[in-house]
């Protein structure tokens, strides 16, 4: 039996089980925290950082990602504040660098909610938008689907992107497990033409 933990989220006393994350605890109390790279069926990944909240412990305040941070007794959590809203707004604006302004899905609705100007950094022409925020949901979903990574991340840092591994491309044509999971609305259909470039095409500069 896991222990019960009592904490305070947005002034509300919330009971949670030990081992739960702040995000899960908030959700159980009906408090919404925005997420992009999180999916309740998968392990938390902690990459998009949109779910940041402010925690206070022993009088010290910190900002943490609620999807990964475990609940603690007596913790005070704030899910909204001018600072958190500012950070979320900036994260959405930064995410648009790879995603572009023309996105759908969660990113678009959150941008509206947080008043984010998705063209703020895209106007600097830093990349060719690829309608992807590299949240890794499809990649992780693909591992789950037993295809053993038909798609995966390639490249490091700003060169990071998602690519299809040619020897497993056949799998991608028939599976639709990642369909609809994408927060930018890029993967709206899979099938004969998966929406991912082949890694070989990236390496040879054909893509």
């Amino acid at each position: 039996m896991s222990k019960e933990v009592v904490l305070e989220i947005d002034g509300k006393t919330v009971k949670a089980k030990e081992g739960m994350t702040l995000l899960q605890a908030a959700k159980s109390a009906g408090i919404e925290i925005p997420t992009l790279c999180y999916h309740e069926e998968m392990e938390p990944y902690g990459a998009c950082r949109i779910c940041v909240v402010e925690i206070e412990r022993n009088g010290r305040k910190r900002i943490v990602a609620s999807c990964c941070y475990p609940v603690e007794d007596g913790l005070k959590v704030k899910t909204r504040s001018p600072k958190i809203d500012r950070i979320r707004k900036t994260i959405l604006e930064l995410a648009a660098i790879t995603a572009g302004e023309d996105v759908g899905g969660k990113v678009a609705s959150l941008a509206y909610e947080y008043n984010a100007d998705l063209s703020r950094f895209t106007s600097m022409k830093l990349t060719t938008p690829m309608k992807c925020i590299l949240c890794g949901l499809c990649v992780r979903r693909c591992i789950e689907a037993q295809w053993d990574n038909a798609i995966d991340f390639v490249g490091r840092g700003v060169n990071r992107r998602i690519a299809l591994l040619p020897e497993k491309a056949y799998a991608c044509k028939t599976c639709s497990y990642c369909y609809g999971i994408c927060p930018t609305g890029r993967i709206t259909s899979v099938g004969p033409n998966p929406p991912f470039p082949l890694v070989t095409d990236i390496l040879t500069g054909r893509e």
């Binding site: 902690g46 990459a47 998009c48 500012r86 950070i87 830093l126 925020i133 590299l134 991340f153 840092g157």
Partner: protein, 641 residues
């Protein structure tokens, strides 16, 4: 070790003492010995050739079995390498070339004469100094960890045992319980030398008490900061010291398996630690029933593929698991859930190297060195625009001024000090007004910089602070793993913004972007690479805001570094029409003839700076903003009287 030698397995502390006595008895303290540094710095300056020449020369003079040659680790003063020490007289020579060897053998080794020209020469007074402790570079240091680098051959375990090696391990295993070892380390307040400054004893205790078996201990030698080589020198020069610390730690924590993560770019470190592990196993100091005790522990070397981010503890552990070295959320510490979700205690090379000293001499002794909150010494790699560059080990609490001006000998070429970057690329710059700050973990963090693993880059007045920030951001941009949005995209934006400012396209909006993006990166990045990446930008902006404003508002680079904001101009009052600059200009941008003042065609100039460097009269000037006064071609030269 000589072939055919029987390896004595050590089965008790008495065995170790007996072996030590035997080794010492075999050695004649009066026998001449030449210790030559063959570590990375000196060997790239040719010290391996010097070793070879010594071998040949001694052979030739029939002294091969009368004089020892020892290839040792780094002695610190890398700039003046290859460096060698001649024992027992303790004569130290610098910048030794293979040609000097016959003279050294016939004069110094045979007759005991000192060769003046190879001694250290003070760059300021011009005097030669014979004794090491009189050389300012060494005088103010406290070489607790580095001292023995010059005395031992890192590939020979007997050298290490001879100077008291593995005594601390014997003490820990046979006179202390694991709890007592942890207590001692906790009492000593040893803090993580990798930069974070987290108390090592507390980390050990957390791992010991965390549920889960097996437990792991790890040495982090993924040093990747530009211009830093502290861990490398310890690993190359004294691998057994690190190994001994690790074994003691493993005993205290209850770990049965250790990993030493060394980057592949350090081939000598990999080689030396691999040899050290092999020898320790043969001597019964590693493996089953260490030194005849009940404690068993073994170590594996893991070579890193060179990603800077893999120095971050969770990324390093992911890499050891065989996956891509990317950090993961660490709200549950790696000390509790590390490699394969098992408790894993990771410490930096230097932290482990301190352990044998603390166990042997006691926490009380350790607390007397340095400051109460940061006891002990710290190794820094002092580089940049100082007269003496190299590895320095100082007691904590020494001021930056002492390091830069007393040990470092001040700024090169009589220039003015501007700032010092501590803590590597994610550290910050510290300006002149804080030079009297004592160096310890807390005071550097307070200034917006950090201790980091110990890089120290000194900058003079000719350094543009915006350009410095851009350089470090660019480095981090290349090294970010790209997993989280704030770090990956934040660095991309900062790099673009700083480049714009350096190239004269800056605006007030750029400063606002810096403010927003740095806040988000600092608060919301996944790992410390992202949260600290803002330090170079924030500290330069904080201490040198006027430089940013000069770039943005006046299109001027005060240090005259940013190419787009500077121009070269020939001062007509100084030009002697010597044609030198004109002949050297690679783009044919200089017009001139005999007796006619030369003029640079700004349209054609590529700003390579060759004219500036070659002009014997100092007539070529750098100007910023890049608008030279109108010059008419055809002015007659004003000859100097």
């Amino acid at each position: 070790m000589k072939e055919g030698c029987k390896i004595p397995r050590i089965n008790s502390p008495e065995d170790l003492e007996k072996l030590r006595e035997e080794i010492l008895a075999k050695r004649d303290p009066n026998r001449p010995c030449v210790a030559i540094c063959v570590s990375a710095g000196c060997s790239s300056l040719g010290s391996l050739q010097v070793v070879k020449s010594f071998r040949e020369e001694l052979e030739k003079q029939g002294l091969a079995d009368k004089v020892d040659i020892k290839a040792t680790g780094c002695m610190g003063f890398c700039e003046l390498g290859p460096r060698l020490a001649i024992y027992p007289k303790e004569i130290f020579y610098f910048k030794v070339k293979p040609e000097d060897v016959p003279e050294i053998v016939s004069k110094t080794i045979l007759k005991g004469e000192v060769i003046e020209r190879l001694l250290y020469k003070d760059p300021v007074t011009g005097e030669t100094i014979r004794k090491l402790e009189d050389i300012p570079f060494y005088k103010y240091q406290y070489r607790l960890l580095l001292e023995n680098n010059a005395k031992i051959d890192p590939k020979n375990i007997e050298d290490y045992i001879a100077i008291g090696g593995y005594k601390a391990l014997a003490k820990a295993l046979f006179q202390m319980t694991p709890e007592q070892v942890i207590e001692e380390i906790k009492k000593s307040n040893l803090r993580g030398r990798g930069g974070g400054g987290f108390p090592a004893g507390r980390k050990w205790e957390t791992t010991r008490n965390a549920p889960g078996e097996p437990k792991y201990v790890i040495v982090n030698c993924d040093e990747g900061d530009p211009g830093a080589f502290m861990d490398r020198s310890l690993m190359e020069g004294n691998p057994h010291l690190v190994l001994e610390g690790l074994i003691i730690g493993a005993y205290a924590i209850g770990a049965s398996q250790g990993y030493i993560y060394v980057r592949e770019e350090y081939p000598l470190a990999v080689e030396n630690i691999t040899v050290a592990i092999q020898q320790a196993r043969e001597y019964g100091l590693l493996g089953k029933n260490i030194m005849g005790s009940n404690f068993s522990f073994d170590v594996e070397v893991h070579k890193g593929a060179g990603a800077f981010v893999s120095g971050e503890s969770s990324a390093l552990m992911t890499a050891i698991e065989g996956k891509v070295g990317e950090p993961r959320p660490k709200y549950i510490h790696t000390a509790v859930k590390g490699i394969r979700d098992k408790p894993s205690c990771l410490n930096n090379v230097e932290t482990w190297a301190n352990v044998p000293h603390i166990i042997l001499n006691g926490a009380e002794w350790f607390l007397k060195i340095g400051t109460p909150t940061s006891p002990g010494t710290k190794i820094f790699s002092l580089v940049g625009k100082v007269n003496n560059t190299g590895l320095v080990e100082v007691p904590m609490g020494i001021t930056l001024r002492d390091i830069i001006f007393k040990i470092g000998g001040g700024i090169r070429g009589g220039k003015k000090f501007k700032a010092v970057q501590t803590g590597g690329p994610s550290g910050g710059v510290i300006p002149e007004q804080y030079l009297d700050t004592p160096v310890d973990f807390d005071s550097l963090t307070k200034l917006g910089s950090m201790m980091g693993s110990g890089g120290m880059i000194v900058m003079d007045e000719d350094t543009c602070m915006v350009d410095v920030a851009r350089f470090f951001i660019n480095f981090l941009l290349e090294e970010s793993c790209g997993k989280c949005i704030p770090c990956r995209e934040g660095l991309r934006v900062l790099n673009k913004v700083l480049t714009d400012i350096c190239e004269g396209r800056g605006s007030e909006e750029h400063l606002r972007i810096i403010e927003d993006v740095t806040e988000t990166m600092k608060e919301a990045s996944l790992c410390a690479l992202g949260t600290t990446a803002v330090n170079p930008v924030l500290t330069t902006l904080n201490y040198f805001r006027d430089e940013y404003e000069a770039h943005i508002k006046e299109r001027r680079c005060p240090a005259k570094v940013c190419k787009a904001l500077t121009a070269y101009y020939i001062n007509p009052d100084k030009c002697q029409a010597c044609l030198i600059c004109l002949r050297n200009c690679p783009s044919g941008a200089i017009k001139g003839e005999r007796d006619i003042v030369h003029v640079i065609d700004q349209e054609k100039c590529i700003k390579c700076g060759i004219c500036y460097a070659v002009c014997p009269f100092g007539a070529v000037e750098k100007i910023s903003p890049p608008v030279p006064p109108p010059v008419r071609y055809g002015i007659k030269v004003k000859r100097k009287k």
